[in-house]
Symmetry: C2
């Protein structure tokens, strides 16, 4: 190999006007990557054994430090992404709230799934040993920042917050579309680590435009897991690199989806105006750049005349918006051109025209079930503010459509109580295809809470058994370890008899916060 040659520098480019922004960034060299990962590995043992209060303080300090970046952060993100300032202020709030929520989860402590089975020395035919179970961090995690949430799913986003909460050092591969944002946020996290006594190396940022930087990180033998949010192509490549390692590692890749919406007949007939408005808003929200963007809408022809008329009216007045990058805008144009030229597809409505570079207009297409089934690519995601209405003739066609769906993050159903009763079988089919099933709502807007599942069967994600949003996201970055025959002194605090952490534990099959030996009976 050629050794360590200097890599090309790059600058951030604003999608608003195409100009180069201040600041020079450089693709990380293999030496830099090795150093960063070594640093993270050295920090892993100490960080994995920090008290839960200290980890919680670190996460809270990170939230505060990000907020303290103030206007400078919002200005920079706006320039790098073209996203409106109001949206970015909201997203910053969500980012800080996520960190604080994980701080609460860590401080409460029961997430470690402590389980205790006490010994029965005189059991026949063999004694029962004392066995105790707890979750332990996997080790250094690589997080790929996403372009579409430059704050809430990037450098200090959900993957980073949950991996840090789990006790894993994090190496973020910054998204090249917002390197300045990444650098500002990384500085805030490192300040938070410093101020709370968290070991150096627990958080690092690596920049790079080249895919090679990501490949080196994922294939580094000391990396133990990967969090990724982005395209199917990118996620699949990362997944395959990870599987081809000498030691395959888990890749939690959220690769987007088309988020089918089903409008059932009574709902279409009685709530046409409201549903049409909601759909138009959801399709164009954030210039359609959400992984939960509703890209497919299934209706029945006989019940949806008003609904589609109203949808058309709403779309026609929808203003255009600036997309995240020139590349994303180009892909959107290609995608919508491909949809428009597919036989059997008609353009139902296009929103207000583009007014500047990298702006995209909302567009809604329409087709019948036959064309939809004949042209597999119509079911694929076009990232941006477009959606495809698929007209079905009857319930059977709707069911048939549902059965052809692959894995998605969400499915939404608009239904009156009678509809829901009549389409119980449709709900069952959809349940088997998605992570989140929404009744009379829209997929955009992902609540950060213990019940959230932002995941779903492949190809929506690579691990359908996980979520990347909500408190359960922490579980991705741990594995269970059990201790057999350990004395109290040698056990982790979570498993000591007296329950010094005050957490919920499963003792001999019963949930309790009591100490061992003091469990309630019955």
């Amino acid at each position: 190999m050629s050794g360590d040659v200097p890599e090309p520098a790059f600058k951030a480019v604003s999608p608003i006007d195409g100009r180069h922004l201040d600041g020079d960034f450089v693709d990380a060299s293999s030496t830099e990557i090795d150093n960063v990962v070594d640093h993270a590995t050295q920090a892993a043992a100490a960080y994995g054994r920090l008290g839960k209060d200290q980890v919680a303080r670190f996460l809270q300090a990170a939230a505060t430090a990000i907020e303290a970046l103030g206007e400078a952060l919002i200005d920079r993100v706006h320039l790098e992404t073209g996203l409106p300032r109001a949206r970015l202020i909201g997203e910053r709030g969500r980012t800080a709230n996520q960190l604080r929520l994980f701080a609460e989860v860590v401080r409460e402590g029961s997430w470690v799934d402590a389980r205790i089975d006490t010994a029965i020395p005189d059991r026949q035919p063999v004694p029962k040993p004392d066995v105790r179970h707890v979750h332990r961090p996997l080790g250094p995690v690589v997080v790929f920042g996403a372009s579409n949430f430059p704050l809430a799913f990037s450098t200090a986003g959900g993957d980073t917050a949950s991996a840090l909460a789990a006790g894993c050092p994090v190496v973020v591969k910054g998204h090249p579309a917002h390197p300045g944002t990444a650098a500002l946020v990384a500085k805030a996290i490192r300040q938070a680590a410093d101020s709370t006594g968290v070991p150096d190396g627990v958080f690092s940022l690596v920049q790079g435009r080249s895919f090679e930087v990501g490949r080196r990180l994922v294939t580094h033998p000391k990396i133990k897991a990967v969090g990724f949010t982005g395209s199917f192509r990118g996620g699949k490549a990362v997944f395959e690199y990870a599987q081809s390692r000498d030691e395959p590692i888990p890749v939690f890749a959220e690769m987007g989806s088309t988020n089918p919406v089903f409008v059932l007949p009574q709902a279409a007939a009685t709530r046409a105006r409201e549903i049409a408005k909601g759909l138009a808003t959801s399709v164009s929200l954030g210039v359609g750049q959400f992984c939960t963007n509703p890209g497919l809408v299934f209706v029945q022809r006989s019940s949806s005349t008003h609904l589609l008329d109203d949808l058309r009216e709403n779309v026609l007045v929808t203003p255009p918006g600036t997309m995240l990058t020139a590349g994303i805008k180009e892909a959107y144009d290609q995608g919508t051109r491909r949809l428009a030229s597919t036989p059997g597809v008609i353009n139902m409505a296009t929103g207000q025209p583009e007014q500047g570079p990298n702006q995209a207009a909302t567009v809604v297409f329409k087709t019948g079930l036959d064309s939809f089934l004949r042209h597999e690519e119509l079911a694929g995601e076009v990232f941006g503010p477009s959606s495809m209405v698929v007209e079905c003739e009857d319930k059977d066609e709707m069911l048939e459509a549902a059965q052809t769906l692959r894995g998605h993050l969400t499915a939404s159903v608009h239904a009156t109580p009678d509809d829901a009763q009549n389409y119980r079988d449709l709900l069952d089919v959809l349940e088997s295809r998605v992570g989140r099933l929404i009744l009379n709502g829209y997929p955009t807007g992902v609540e950060v809470c213990p019940s959230m599942v932002h995941g779903g069967p492949y190809p929506a994600t690579t691990v359908p058994q996980s979520t990347s949003v909500g408190t359960n996201a922490i579980r991705r970055f741990v594995r269970p370890v059990c201790y057999q025959g350990f004395s109290d002194r040698l056990l982790p605090d979570a498993l000591k008899n007296s329950n010094p952490l005050g957490i919920w534990r499963l003792i001999n099959g019963r949930f309790t916060r009591a100490a061992v030996g003091a469990e309630p009976s019955g």
Copy 2:
């Protein structure tokens, strides 16, 4: 392709005397495999929605039906595996107990991880939706029966019991070394399904000697997960087939390990006789055919003279045993010859000589850390009653040895309280390498309980985040689904307001068995 040609029949061969046993078995054709999987798929929806009491009754009935096979089962397993009858009676008990334990888990019901976050319609800036989370079955699961546990980890073993408990139909690929056992047990499970009203297709057995049968099952598009217990080579092949599918699916492969044992200086000096006896017993138990067989023993030269003398004495009088198949015996002979001929390795003791076909003698080798580090193959598993003692000079060498270890199911440490204090860092290194850490005990003997982790980092398993023994094994075969904005009537019972199942749930962040709205505060 050639279409469906008749596949060759085969007979079971007894390892005891090499004779062919009664009964003709046939490699399943691709048509048979398609039919079986279609059948399982059709059953999946109905089975996944059965009431928990009915699933529990089915599992209990399966346990009873297996016990009711009586002596005929024990006779057949003994002939097919050469395992002693007493061991098989014990293993039958464990198999029935596992099914009953999962019946209890299902009946209690809290394993589904029900989570409820209630709506806040007037939250600013956006309303908070009602979101509820529960685990749902993945769909049809293929289970590969293991040769070394013809009952407890084969047709009705831990993988089958946990997948059925999770609500997934199971297709067992019977192990070709015990097809008659597999057929008897399968019949019992189907009887149990019949008698408890469980849909046809929920359980099927497919026989086959050809690896092609397994490949077809794993790559069948309607199969949603795989449980596997066996060799690294077999597990890796299954894993790679599953990853190469259009829709990759999880493969929970437990591929064995060498289960390192560390005897610390004070323990070696003060408990030499007891540890030597325990080790010799553990190495030769079940003719060494356990995935938890201790294949590596690390000692310090200065403290282990008595220990090794005692170990030698114990091994010398250990009787030989019949291995499971001629192929396993051949591989054992090759493996031990390879160890014996590695430079720096000496044969420390060989047990009593073989007395019949396919019998294996216990053998313990010894080497120094230098040779161990120089010859990577010494760290690999030799399936059977052999073990390698590695003499270290001091604590640093022991730590160095531990740091070179890859993933294992278990690590055991023999230590006095002072030893444990002095070797805290060794315990920490071992914890990062295994699923189960044992203090002053032996790895063989895997307790079936909520705290058990029978798993570990790759290459011990393909999913370090799971266990294949114990109640948590059920979690492998489900994924989370959340319901947003659902009315009570449409929600699964586990998530209804009134908590009709009486299970533990996380309501707005608090564990409770109360109904929604009646949670304790504070």
